[in-house]
């Protein structure tokens, strides 16, 4: 049973517009969430994270929002650029685990010029 779900396998956005990638989770024990970005034939790179005690974290063009009551988080990219085209993975972890991240299946973002 998937504990972290990314229900949209793909998303297409025009350059300059906002990209919104969504992630839902089922385990209320999760207390830290991360987003990774992956280009083909490369390893994932860490993008941004958020602790469960916060509801928003911002880093440049990237903002992550957390809605604990809905068990939902989202990554906003504003403005979107063609270089943002990649697969984005949402991941979650809970304290007391050994740092094992539970990953979603990913969303492929295409930003069109």
């Amino acid at each position: 049973d998937q504990q972290v779900k990314q229900n949209s396998p793909s998303l297409s956005v025009q350059e300059g517009r906002i990209s919104i990638l969504n992630c839902d989770y089922t385990n209320s024990m999760f207390d830290y969430f991360l987003w990774y970005k992956k280009y083909p034939a490369e390893g994932p790179t860490f993008l941004i994270s958020i602790s469960s005690i916060k509801d928003k974290n911002e880093d440049g063009r990237f903002t992550v929002f957390l809605n604990k009551s809905a068990k939902h988080l989202s990554l906003h990219i504003v403005p979107s650029q063609p270089g943002d085209s990649a697969v984005y993975f949402c991941a979650a972890v809970y304290g007391g685990s050994q740092g094992n991240l539970i990953f979603g299946k990913g969303t492929k973002l295409s930003v069109k010029p």
């Binding site: 991360l34 860490f46 740092g99």
Partner: protein
């Protein structure tokens, strides 16, 4: 910058061969992980290690084993490669923080 390196970017092996994938990290991280990535399935954890000589099974350990003799090195072993082990293999490391740092991956093809 954290650097995680993997011994090969591309590897082609025959069914039944024993395959070794090596991973080395240079940041003195305690934790190391092996994942495989397949289209539509995301990243699935095979094994992880939180200390030298320690190992724990992940979600899909069948057909794999691991070795961690030194803190910086974590090896994944396919005892007898099969075609369903054709995949992208990713190694990662982390310290006490949750962020994992990934290597570039090894694209393994078993024929």
């Amino acid at each position: 910058d954290v650097k995680v390196t993997q011994s090969s970017r591309y590897l082609v092996k025959r069914t039944g061969e024993k395959v070794f994938l090596e991973c080395v990290q240079d940041m003195d991280h305690e934790n190391m992980f092996w994942y495989r990535q397949d289209p539509g399935l995301g990243l699935r954890l095979i094994y992880f290690s939180y200390d030298v000589k320690m190992k724990e099974k992940g979600d899909i350990p069948e057909g794999y084993s691991v070795s961690r003799e030194k803190k910086e090195r974590f090896s994944l072993i396919l005892e007898s490669a099969s075609t369903n082990q054709t995949s992208m293999y990713l190694c990662a490391s982390s310290s006490w923080l949750y962020e994992q740092y990934f290597g570039p991956g090894t694209r393994l093809t078993v024929t």
